[in-house]
Symmetry: D2
Subunit: 305 residues, 4 copies
């Protein structure tokens, strides 16, 4: 073991670049090391010309500042597809219409309800945001139902993205660059609620998820190599690695999670677990970072850029 | 504050009933109190003749001993509907065909892969289990596709349940008692993979999730009161409380979770957060227990019975 | 792999014994398995006639119902020494004088302060409890300082225990059975504050921790075998395994913790980590359970008895 | 609510300063907000000319790159005293003698033991490091015992710090600037083991912790205002806030922790809980950040500088 194997003390300075802090993290131990290794691995996968990169995140993240980071990652061509939950579509569209508010974790939820404010951790979302979504979405759904009565989620989301004009919007950037947004659980959302309300008048309107799965599997299958940046857990995480099974597994995987592995949930699982399933290749390069993505991702991306 | 407000020391004895331990937990503080309160609240909701009870759980739990507890809860009429993720359908059916194995969290995943064993925390699932699922499922899908080309997940799962003969099976007990199993993210599973493979030959075969949402919302809407036992997070948790929004919120809610609230995820959120959204009524009775459901649920149910 | 290697579904029944639930946990997977294995390993260590058993816990646990469980474990001769933090001495003595109160995690702490109530999670401790401790302790310290001006923590705590008359008191049971209570960080407590106030008048009054360490190391060294039941983390956990280093490590170790391993803390570490240090023998039998001890310990002890 | 209350999307760029990322975090939600608020509050307390700043950390952090950050904080005069656990003294001194090594969380601990390597999360510490500590410490203890037979931990650590020549050493910087290092649990460490071994020959050698507590309480009592930067939990955290009780509580408090509040432990408690005890003033400014300090602290300090 030589110098390069040593734990080194941070040398922090005024005016330091974020990328310099991240590069020091590699020799700092504990989760700091993970952040630096994640930056390195993301860099590798986005620079590998033959690798399709999956970006996966949970809905709540789109209610946070991360939305801008995701949009930028898509805009810069670092990401080839997105896998996410239904609520991401809600938050992304609503925030093109009206902003969310800073709140706090310990607010009185009954009082908030009386004031018409929904709480998402320490983010506040006034009810009129959802009214604005409804108003925006209804005519779009009418228009789309003229085109076809059966939609897969990513096709539908693609059309929504084409109608959003906001550089910070993930859907906008994805639509602009032809990056599919796979969303197997799309109806579990406010958009889902609107689909339901819309279908009251148009009972033939169908959202087909088998077609969605086919598209995602094909997308993975056709790639020479695949990589995944998986932020948080839930259906987005499982789906991202699951659709890579038939192709023989992911070549690169970075997980960022606050969930715990001890309860057998995939949300908290280490990357290694995916190797037993063949969802990650035996020789796949992997890093797991334990921490909140709102803190970890900006560091990882600073290390990449 | 009188006697009943005091923290009391455990009095543990040989041969003690589980229900006695749980009843002592109420005055023991910390999460023990939560377990006892959860037992009390579950008892109230299942004994409230006008309350429809939602049971929600994540897929991994069906790979554990909890499957038998869920089946029993359905069998005894404590539960009026189930909301879960796609993997639950996989595990429930497979385990009627072949057992899962005890494993350990620290196994070498590459070696496991070479031996054809998939790891789910400390549970091992040999590959032939998935082969057995495929073999069982293909003819059923053929048969069902004759009946209709468009299926909602709960209708499909209902048919699967009717074909499973195993008292410990959740699907079997649900089918037997007419308890719907809502599964908005059904394709994120091995069953989903089979639906995809099946659809290669039958491109008109469609799984419609708008219809699924409609059924779940109606189920909640028609109830005089609703209650939810929510184990774990993800799409199952969000969907359970989400479909109760239009009716004005849940009257009773028990959450059991290992996830953390600090990252703004619903998986880790307190029940109270749901009140700001109107997914739980302002005066809804709620308990949140932080712990692994494989340990907590048997205690809660011992307290109920 | 045979029948005994299978994951088995819970079979839960009315009136079931806690020990029956625990024995089912062994084949239930996830942390339930850990609870059952912990029960088995605790049983082995307490039944091994040549094993000295260390019981280690954090202060907050003595403010909960666990105090009675600890006292019972000592009373039944399952435990040969205790290692704990200073606050445990506070809570154990105070609760012989006046009870603690049930509270809640989300109380308004400023309002509580104005009412003279201290919050410890969901346990409330009115200020007069600390006044009662002071009143009880002052004359005892005077008396002890007549005997000697230099005390080690366990000798001091032994004398306190002899003066406590309460069957649910850990100190009382320990004193009665000659079980030493090692407390290397004794001054970090209300008792510590009293020692400080007392020493204002008696500047020669000294609490020596080197002597404390010597006693604990010797206690471990003289044993043929040693085992540890370690609840929670902090100085109690580290000290318990640390004093077993010179003897070649623990033969049995059970950890119950809510802390996480990812930050390199000992509080969250797996038992295995201790093997690299020689604080646990290479062939030492170990179990780690992740969960709140107020829920886990009653189950473990139900499984033992 | 105006613009300043809005959640804003990250605008990440190549070559961005760390301080710029941190300042964006304030409007990013979830734990990112906490990081930015912590930076602001640390800045306030270190710039408040009448505030004594306590820095508290756990031992494991001194085995990581954070050691250099702590040393720098002391060197720049941001910190007026340190409160820590015994192991911090070990790691700080050893690392002036020989470096620690990068390791990994999933190493085989039995194999490591056979190779003479101790694991601390993903940091490896070869046995010869502890031999080097022993060799360095023995003559120092002999020398100090000539001066006095009774020592308080901070006086002893002050002398050790005067003999360490290493700019990255916390003890060195503290000794140089007269910053006391309070260590109520000093014997729970390798230094403690050496004290024990040394006392075999010098049975009159005593380490008195009542004197230690007196010094820490006086240090807090004499300050016009006090603030605390508390990283991790355990005895260091509790002691830091406890010694501020008699003075009426801390004026500023920043907690960074990976522990959970649900088990009633102080390690995982919110800052607010301290207000009920009067350990933090009712109007004390507070921030709690949930995350690993190896990632969070460099960000917080980037925001301060």
């Amino acid at each position: 073991m030589g110098k390069s194997d040593e734990i080194k003390d941070y040398v922090l300075k005024r005016g330091q670049k974020a990328s310099d802090v991240v590069s020091q993290m590699e020799a700092a131990g504990f989760q700091a090391e993970g952040v630096a290794l994640a930056a390195g691995l993301v860099k590798e996968m986005v620079e590998d010309g033959d690798c399709r990169v999956f970006l996966s995140f949970t809905s709540n993240m789109v209610a946070s500042g991360l939305r801008g980071a995701f949009a930028k990652m898509v805009k810069e061509g670092l990401v080839d597809c997105v896998v996410t939950a239904g609520g991401s579509v809600d938050h992304d569209i609503i925030r093109t219409l009206k902003p969310y508010k800073k709140g706090n974790f310990f607010a009185d939820d009954v009082k908030l309800h009386r004031r018409g404010v929904n709480r998402l951790g320490n983010v506040f979302i006034p009810n009129d945001r959802y009214a604005a979504l409804e108003k925006w979405l209804r005519p779009v759904l009418s228009e789309l139902s003229e085109q076809s009565s059966t939609w897969s989620p990513h096709a539908l989301i693609g059309e929504l993205g084409r109608r959003v004009k906001d550089r910070s919007s993930v859907l906008h950037q994805c639509a602009k660059r032809g990056v599919p947004v796979f969303c197997p659980g799309i109806t579990d959302s406010a958009v889902g609620l609107q689909l339901y309300l819309f279908s009251q008048d148009r009972p033939d309107f169908v959202v087909d998820v088998v077609e969605e799965l086919k598209a995602a599997i094909d997308f993975a299958f056709d790639a020479k190599r695949t990589g995944a940046i998986v932020l948080g857990g839930g259906i987005s995480k499982h789906h991202t690695i699951g659709v890579n099974l038939l192709r023989g597994g992911l070549d690169y995987s970075v997980y960022v999670t606050t969930a715990n592995p001890y309860d057998g949930s995939l949300s908290g699982a280490e990357t290694n677990e995916g190797k037993s399933w063949g969802k990650i290749r035996e020789d796949g390069r992997t890093v797991t970072v334990r921490g909140d993505a709102t803190v970890v991702l900006p560091l990882v991306m600073s290390g990449v850029w």
